[in-house]
């Protein structure tokens, strides 16, 4: 109940900030443009998912941390009130993550609806992209919260950490993977590679997209490990469970941290 009261206030406050509306508009403009230029087919969905894979982690982490700092007063005010910390934590998290996820979903789905793409395109692909976007939003907002709580007294450090983490996960990590592939290419490195990819949530989401749109190429790969992994339900289920783990662990750690924290 108390969580709901907090959520309601947070949402009102967020809408007043206009920021969230702008965030949703970005997706609306992107999706609209992509559908216009991409002829509403898989190309448009691929472009949308590419942008989603970059933007959501960045915004989720930065804004997750920033939001904690911004609502510090609010948090301190509420902590002295009769409410348990877990409710307060989920109120804060839901107060940000749910509107972010909604902004993405509405911003992306609206152009698909008014252009009629939802009727012509593959519904499974559309749903996959929307679900993935929502999962990524929750996941990276949770990570942002974690950083925010870890460096609660030092905003610069917290935001810096979020930005560097994004850069690492989005670009550098893949660079390391590529380097590893070309260094150890003569050894059977498929399994370690898969493990590396599953360890990075952006790669994880990217591979889920590959499974939907690039399965033809993946199945063209000569190694048995990949084709066994991608060719069966195993690929999808392992990827999904890793995604769930990635969703759960930062949130669980954040909540623990929040409950033990001195304000």
């Amino acid at each position: 109940m108390k969580t709901l009261t907090i959520l309601r206030y947070q949402w009102k406050d967020l809408l007043r900030g206009k920021w969230i509306v702008g965030y949703g508009l970005i997706y609306l403009l992107i999706a609209d443009a992509m559908i216009r230029f991409g002829n509403a087919g898989p190309k448009a969905m691929l472009s949308i998912s590419n942008i989603m894979l970059l933007l959501i982690p960045l915004v989720g982490m930065i804004y997750g941390a920033l939001y904690l700092y911004q609502s510090r007063e609010f948090t301190e005010l509420l902590l002295a009130q009769p409410i348990d910390r877990a409710s307060l934590f989920w109120g804060l998290f839901g107060g940000l993550a749910i509107p972010l996820a909604l902004a993405f979903t509405i911003g992306t789905a609206l152009p698909m609806i008014y252009t009629g793409m939802i009727l012509t395109a593959n519904l499974q692909s559309i749903l996959l992209i929307l679900m993935l976007g929502i999962a990524l939003t929750l996941l990276f907002t949770g990570l942002g919260f974690w950083f925010g709580l870890k460096f609660f007294e030092d905003r610069v450090k917290g935001l810096g950490f979020a930005l560097v983490s994004w850069l690492f996960l989005a670009v550098l990590y893949d660079g390391l993977v590529l380097l590893a592939v070309f260094t150890f290419g003569d050894y059977p490195i498929e399994k370690p590679m898969l493990a590396m990819a599953l360890a990075n949530p952006i790669d994880l989401a990217r591979i889920t997209v590959l499974l939907e749109f690039d399965i033809s190429a993946l199945m063209g790969y000569t190694g048995a490990v990949f084709s066994r992994f991608f060719g069966s339900m195993m690929g999808v289920s392992v990827a999904l469970s890793c995604l769930m783990l990635w969703l759960g662990i930062p949130l669980w750690r954040s909540q623990r941290q929040f409950e033990k924290k001195d304000f």
């Binding site: 087919g41 190309k43 590419n50 989005a170 670009v171 893949d174 070309f182 990819a197 033809s216 063209g220």
Partner: protein
């Protein structure tokens, strides 16, 4: 008087009518409970031009020889079962017609090409509406001219390449027509070797162990409106000139050596109006020259076109490349006069300021990443990552590893078809 004349006319007419019936053909009926219970007996008793009608039932017989011009006609559910003993039906006479009959279980073996229906050295044979189930080879034509296969349904359920023959097998034939057949579960769905002037249209070939269609040394053939789906290796076309491959559909061929269509040493041929969908490789070209690849659609393939550098002077015009993982890949920095023009590429990132529908900057369909994947296939896992996109963008800006001349200088802004 009048009555007499009328009666006479009627009588004469009746006689004439009966006479004609007799001279046109005699029908010999084979049935489980009749006078003739074996198909071979029926054929033996028939005169050239007669029809042998096989009534409903299962006739366990093999090596049935048709050595005179007859029509073998089956009722519904008339099944000749070879019982894995040998050939089932062997056609030796010209102009034989086989219609509506079911042929099951020829022998399988390595020494002979056992088949459900064999036509060897007979011309102008017509096989129509038959159903072939679990034969080693389905229909086997050798040294035949002017034969027509139509509306046959040919399936097998053997799992290994070694104990499975081809669905429709042609060897040294001329001017054969293969229309609207369905083949599944054989080694190669359709197999052509030393065939000339065949017309192959409206067939469907899927789930075969090796190739949906496999043809070699078969000049001047035309393939039209066929569908090849989910075959082990896709379709292989080799060592042939002057082929027309038009309006076919190549789909769902997945695997490390599966191709929508593989062309090897194919020259001066037309590949137009085909669609390649969801194949690991859409069109693979090796040592093929002077072909015209036009008006095809490549949709969501792993590699839309793999063009080996020993292929020269091919023209790729007005094709649509939509949502493929890789558009074109090659194995060299060299490009010998292959021309890509006026295609639509969904990976094109240029612009069209003068709004004439043609992109203002050329499109380079060979990505750097496709070369990386060629060298180190495991790196495929990095597809669609920001890193790879950045590398590709840098390479497009200043080509170092990709063929400089392989580009489309008139990329279309909208799909062509």
């Amino acid at each position: 008087m009048r009555l007499k004349i009328i009666t006479t006319i009627l009588f004469v007419g009746l006689m004439l009518f009966l006479q004609t019936q007799k001279t046109v053909a005699t029908q010999i009926t084979v049935s489980q409970d009749g006078e003739i219970t074996s198909v071979q007996d029926g054929i033996n008793q028939a005169q050239p031009g007669d029809t042998v009608f096989v009534k409903e039932g299962r006739y366990v017989e093999y090596d049935i020889r048709i050595n005179k011009r007859i029509t073998l006609l089956g009722a519904n559910n008339a099944v000749i079962d070879g019982d894995n003993q040998g050939f089932v039906v062997v056609v030796e006479a010209d102009s034989t017609v086989i219609k509506n009959i079911e042929v099951h279980n020829s022998k399988a073996g390595f020494m002979d090409d056992y088949a459900g229906i064999v036509v060897e050295g007979a011309h102008n044979v017509r096989i129509e509406g038959t159903k072939l189930v679990d034969n080693f080879f389905g229909i086997y034509l050798a040294k035949s001219k002017g034969t027509v296969l139509k509306n046959n349904h040919i399936t097998a359920s053997r799992k290994r390449e070694t104990n499975s023959g081809n669905g429709i097998h042609l060897w040294y034939t001329k001017d054969v027509e293969i229309l609207d057949n369905y083949v599944a579960g054989h080694r190669d769905g359709l197999y052509f070797e030393f065939v000339e002037g065949a017309f192959i249209a409206g067939n469907e070939s899927e789930n075969n162990i090796r190739y949906g269609i496999h043809f070699m040394y078969s000049d001047h053939c035309r393939y039209e409106r066929n569908t090849f789906r989910d075959n082990g290796g896709g379709v292989a076309v080799m060592y042939t000139s002057n082929v027309e491959i038009v309006d076919n559909h190549f789909a769902d061929n997945w695997g490390s050596s599966a191709y929508g269509m593989l062309l090897k040493e194919i020259n001066r041929s037309q590949i137009t109006g085909n669609t390649f969908t969801n194949n690991s490789v859409g069109l693979y070209m090796e040592a093929s020259s002077r072909n015209n690849v036009q008006g095809n659609e490549f949709i969501q393939n792993g590699w839309a076109v793999q063009l080996m550098a020993n292929s020269t002077d091919n023209k790729f015009n007005k094709n649509n490349f939509v949502a493929n993982s890789f558009e074109v890949s090659t194995n060299s920095r060299m490009n010998y006069s292959n021309n890509f023009d006026k295609n639509y590429w969904s990976q094109y990132e240029g612009y069209d300021l003068n709004r004439d529908g043609v992109g203002d900057v050329p499109h380079r369909p060979v990505r750097l990443f496709s070369i990386l994947v060629e060298k180190q296939p495991q790196s495929l896992l990095l597809l669609r990552s920001l890193l790879v996109d950045l590398l590709d963008a840098a390479e497009k800006f200043m080509p170092v590893l990709t063929p400089e001349t392989l580009l489309d200088s008139k990329p279309q802004m909208e799909p062509v078809l």
